[in-house]
């Protein structure tokens, strides 16, 4: 059961081979056994989880329910949950209990999935290693001395260690795809606007997008069926008819045009990563797909553009944390300015402060045109590169990250080294495109390598179909990390 797919769990529940309560207890026990080592969860509420499971069992007993009814799902601690604290990995919100549920939480509740707990993350989703969490780093189940990636590192580690069948995450510049790659699981960042941001703590609003993490692409498709869809409470939620994300899972690969950007197969990528990705592309070719060399010539500018825009938006979004309406408040302030300054100095960690201060700088008088406006213009050049590329290919493949999981602490001293690791994930974020990461083998140290597949706007079903074909012929996604045997 611990290594079963969502479809397998659903059929076991439907056939009464296991109850939702038994399944939930199984995963709660697994969390209790492993969380002390991995630190993947910030909050677990066993009573709440079991109450959800009992309600799901009652529904199934009446012959009702759907694909996710009674299945435990963990949520990144960025999604507001009524009755359970939502910390966003920050001291600022360490005791914050939201008065309402996020749209994504409502959707899983409506599907009668079980809320299994809230997962650890980089503070305010600002990081690529999960080291910036106020609640301490998450460890990678493939090597406990290494990071699981970030910012959805808790969700990725929890799925990898089989502490949960699936989890939610959010992705602003790679925060679902990069941890999925580093933890050896599958993760999808949907098209911007496909999943409502209502109740998702904001980092950079023009880029933030919720999405699922799970073992397989087929599981991601089932989760998307629950998560995605129009919501009037998010003004950037796209109005489109509901779609079945599983609809392309059986599709053939014959004739699929795979774009291979020259810039993604270049110096700076670890040789083992390049080798695994090339082997994977060769497998697709053997199945009738056709590789096409393409150029995404502004790739090297994506990281600078991303950090200007994301930091500017963050400085604006995080101005709401003022110690007045909710969250941390300093003690004995002598005036209002002192209240703000000390509340924010105490409540935010070092990386968050760096980003707010730089975001303030690029938006400030005299610098706005040179930084913010210029970055928005180069953002358009990057989006145009993709539009051009999709005239020649159907999907784009390359490494999700230039390297595999790195040791805890290895990049903490220099923020720029950490940022440069986002080079292959930020371009799709800037262009609003859907992209997923699936495991495609291991490096010489036994660490997982991720393949990124990017599609055109709203091509999630195609991406999932392509990834599913690959997973039917390979078992990387079913391998269990050696530090967390079943």
């Amino acid at each position: 059961m611990l290594n079963a797919t969502l479809a397998e769990l659903a059929s076991a529940l439907a056939a009464k081979r296991i109850s939702g309560v038994e399944l939930t207890k199984l995963f709660l026990a697994r969390i209790a056994a492993l969380n002390g080592t991995l630190n993947a969860f910030i909050t677990v509420d066993e009573e709440r989880s079991l109450a959800d499971a009992r309600a799901a069992d009652a529904l199934r007993a009446r012959g009702e329910g759907g694909a996710l009814t009674g299945i435990p799902i963990a949520h990144k601690d960025i999604y507001c949950t009524r009755g359970i604290r939502t910390t966003c990995g920050s001291r600022m919100l360490a005791n914050f209990v939201s008065p309402y549920d996020a749209h994504v939480i409502e959707r899983f509740a409506a599907a009668r999935a079980v809320l299994l707990g809230k997962t650890n993350m980089d503070e305010f989703a600002m990081g690529s290693s999960n080291e910036t969490s106020y609640f301490a780093p998450v460890r990678n189940p493939w090597d406990l001395q290494r990071v699981p990636g970030g910012s959805s590192g808790g969700s990725a580690a929890a799925v990898a260690a089989r502490m949960t069948p699936a989890a939610t995450g959010t992705d602003t510049g790679g925060s679902i795809r990069q941890p999925a790659a580093l933890a050896g699981i599958s993760g999808l960042k949907p098209t911007y606007g496909a999943v409502s941001r209502y109740g998702m703590v904001a980092f950079a609003s023009s880029l933030d997008q919720g999405g699922p993490l799970a073992k397989s692409a087929a599981d991601l498709a089932l989760l998307m069926n629950a998560m995605a869809g129009h919501d009037t409470r998010d003004s950037t939620s796209v109005e489109r008819p509901a779609e079945d994300y599983t609809r392309s899972l059986g599709h053939s690969l014959a004739g699929l045009r795979i774009g291979l950007p020259r810039e993604y197969f270049a110096a700076g990528v670890e040789p083992d990563v390049l080798a695994r990705v090339r082997e994977t592309v060769a497998w697709f070719e053997s199945q009738g797909a056709r590789p096409v060399e393409i150029g995404l010539r502004n790739t090297r500018l994506a990281v600078p553009v991303y950090y200007v825009l994301a930091l500017a938006e963050a400085s604006s979004n995080l101005s709401r944390f003022d110690g007045v309406r909710y969250g941390h408040r300093t003690s004995d302030p002598y005036d209002l300015l002192d209240l703000y300054r000390r509340t924010r100095a105490e409540g935010f960690g070092a990386e968050v402060k760096r980003r707010i201060l730089l975001g303030t700088y690029v938006l400030s008088h005299g610098y706005y045109d040179a930084y913010y406006l210029q970055a928005q213009k180069v953002r358009r050049l990057i989006a145009q590169d993709f539009a051009q590329a999709y005239r020649e290919c159907d999907v784009i493949m390359g490494p999700t990250a230039p390297g595999t999981a790195f040791p805890i602490g290895a990049k903490s001293a220099d923020p720029v080294q950490m940022y440069l690791g986002d080079i292959f994930t930020v371009p799709a974020s800037l262009a609003g495109l859907p992209a997923l990461s699936v495991p495609c083998g291991f490096d010489s140290r036994g660490l997982p390598v991720g393949l990124q597949i990017t599609g055109n706007h709203f091509a999630e079903a195609t991406l999932l179909g392509v990834a599913h074909r690959y997973q039917q012929a390979h078992d990387w996604h079913l391998r269990v990390p050696k530090e967390t045997p079943l």
Partner: protein
């Protein structure tokens, strides 16, 4: 461009974050490292390119969707103030602003 100690102080003031003199110098060096990275953008020719502010503007040319200007939310003041650090009689409390 490179930030001076005075500029760090100014940014901290604008962002309402207290920065101690001890933190200031390391912060300045780290921010300058990031600025070196983003300064690559200065040399890019973007003449005639419109700024892109929204990932889906190509798909949603009409821009922002507006809702009708009618009351849609119930009054939940007590609930929202229940998570505030200090309230009294329906008001948020802060240190005295006007003498």
């Amino acid at each position: 461009m490179s930030l001076s100690p005075d500029q760090i102080e100014r940014l901290a003031r604008l962002a309402r974050i207290a920065v101690s003199p001890a933190e200031s110098e390391e912060l300045r060096m780290q921010l300058n490292r990031v600025l070196e990275l983003v300064d690559q953008l200065q040399s890019i020719d973007t003449a005639g390119i419109e700024p892109m502010s929204h990932a889906l503007e190509a798909l949603l040319p009409s821009g922002q969707r507006l809702r009708p200007d009618v009351v849609s939310e119930p009054d939940r003041r007590a609930e929202f103030q229940g998570v505030a650090p200090a309230v009294d009689a329906g008001l948020y409390l802060v240190p005295k602003v006007i003498e």
